[in-house]
Amino acid sequence: MKKTISVNIKGINFIIEEDAYTLLESYLIKLTASLKNENDSKEIIDDIEYRISELCSLKITTNKQVVELEDIELILKTLGQPEEFLDEDDVSKADTNNENSETISVSKKLFRDVENGKVAGVCSGLASYFGVDVIFIRILFLLLFFTVGFSFPIYLIIWLVTPKANSSIDRLRMQGKNITINTVKEEVESAANRIKNESKSFANKLRKDGELSNKIYGLASMIRVFIGIGFIIFGCVSLVTMIFYGFFNKAFIPISRTVNMRFNSWDSHSDFLSLSDINELFIEDPSDFVWLKTFGFIFGLCLVLFSLILGVKLILNTKTKLVKLLLIVVFITGVVSIISCTYTVAKSGSQFAIEGEIERTIGNVNTAELVIETPTSLKKLNNEFVVKSDGFEGFLNIEGENIKNNKINFIYRSSKDSMYHISQRFSARSIVHKLAIEKAKHIQHKVDLKDNFLLIDTEFTYPKKDKLRGQNVTIIIEIPKGKNVRFSDQIISLDNDFEEALEESFLEEEGVLFKNGVYEHWY
């Protein structure tokens, strides 16, 4: 089994064995180096290449598609070695036996070194040109990209305008080495090695498919590198996030905490909860909480590792099996841990399965109009301003061992008699009804009925140990026919609905009271 490459000799494509190609290339290089007059030599080499192309086509039959090493050996034997057919007029004056002295001086030229390059060989080409290590050029490009970002267009421009170092002669010119039989020989040998070791440059792998597709694939590999960088950045950010919020349990979820201030007045100030604080408020079973924390940590770790490894892999374009295996292991671990997390959360979800409701009557009122007031709506300052906001911001409000919640629901029904009937309903959720009722009983909400004034607190509280279990407070008001409820500036009446209600016999309207005392009626 032999590796072959596709090569274009004077417009004809041949599939040629790799060693045959190397032999042919070294022959042409030797020929170039042997001919002194550059103008003539180009034509002579062209002619000889035409002959080689012709001879190669003669070697190809329908049964034999590949130009083999033996074919090239035979062809080169027919053509003869340069020293066999070139006399003193054609050969440079230098003594051919003294290899070092046979030199073609060349000026250094900028080429793209696709064989040593990572993307399109721009950096390594520049490195060769300036005679510095490629790593410095690469770091410079990356730094420029991340600081000012113009290295990307620069890279593209250099890429487009710089020719690729195709032949060994090009490579020597790129390195600024003099072309001698010795250096050419070295270069050809290293070229053979490079071909054998398979180039790392993505673009180079596809170089035989022509320059255009080469550039497209090169672009793809450049995109690959940038995606890789993106993954690494993501991994680093995730790592920092994980360390701060997961490992050190840094609090970041905004809540407010109500504390007793001076003069025995309660006020709230902002505070933060950590992820585990929040979990504690949700998850029933302490062991579940530990599991969630553990799996969450593993998942975070996997996410970080995965993105870092993938990023490095994409940038270096390594095909190492170890890296692949590592990625798979990390990925599977991550998936398993996130599934475990979901399972734990789902298990806690069962704590929300059953709703328990309790209800008590606040009172019955016989009045022309029921007026609902909230404490905040009464809080008038010494001028005409009214305090609209209560300063409770954030995700939760914690008052000592209690959780403060808001949003009081209102349900209005038609009264069966001429009186207003007011009742208060608490609801909570749990895994069994009994527990749900228990939790509902723990809810505290202040409602006062004074004459035709119904004073309703905008908040209700329940103990922290009850956890967040969908605790809810609903005020149910039955309105007699032709009468209404006044809620600050809103008049709530069921009169319009009464005619329809005669047929339906069931009539209900709803509304909600927000924490800042604003009431919103749902018509």
Partner: protein
């Protein structure tokens, strides 16, 4: 011997070449080869491979590479000109033909060759 050197000098004087005694042999072979190449081209417009076939048939050249520098040189001396022609079986071919100068040149060469041939056989027979 003196005659031969004189005649060879004449050939290469025509070729605008500097004669040097050290490469006489090489120049002689080269001169004869060039003469043959021009003669082949005179008969028919040909491309290098055809020339090679004839030269190899006549055992005038061992390695094919010899031909190309010579063709280039003759072309540069404006004795030869070529045109490109597509080929069905391989790469395009360079078809060579003689320029008017080339024709005159070859005529002179032929004359010289006949003279030379006579002279050589005369000398060799004498010895």
């Amino acid at each position: 011997m003196y005659n031969i050197i004189l005649i060879i000098t004449y050939i290469f004087a025509l070729n605008n070449l500097n004669m040097s005694l050290e490469n006489t042999q090489a120049q002689m072979r080269k001169g004869i080869l060039e003469f043959c190449i021009l003669s082949i081209i005179e008969k028919k417009e040909v491309y290098p491979s055809e020339i090679l076939e004839q030269l190899k048939g006549a055992k005038l050249i061992v390695v094919e590479g010899t031909l190309y520098p010579l063709l280039t040189r003759l072309k540069n001396l404006e004795l030869l000109a070529y045109r490109w022609e597509e080929s069905n079986s391989g790469p395009p071919r360079k078809y060579f033909h003689l320029t008017p100068t080339g024709k005159v040149f070859l005529k002179e060469l032929k004359k010289t060759w006949i003279e030379l041939n006579g002279a050589i056989s005369l000398i060799i027979e004498k010895k």
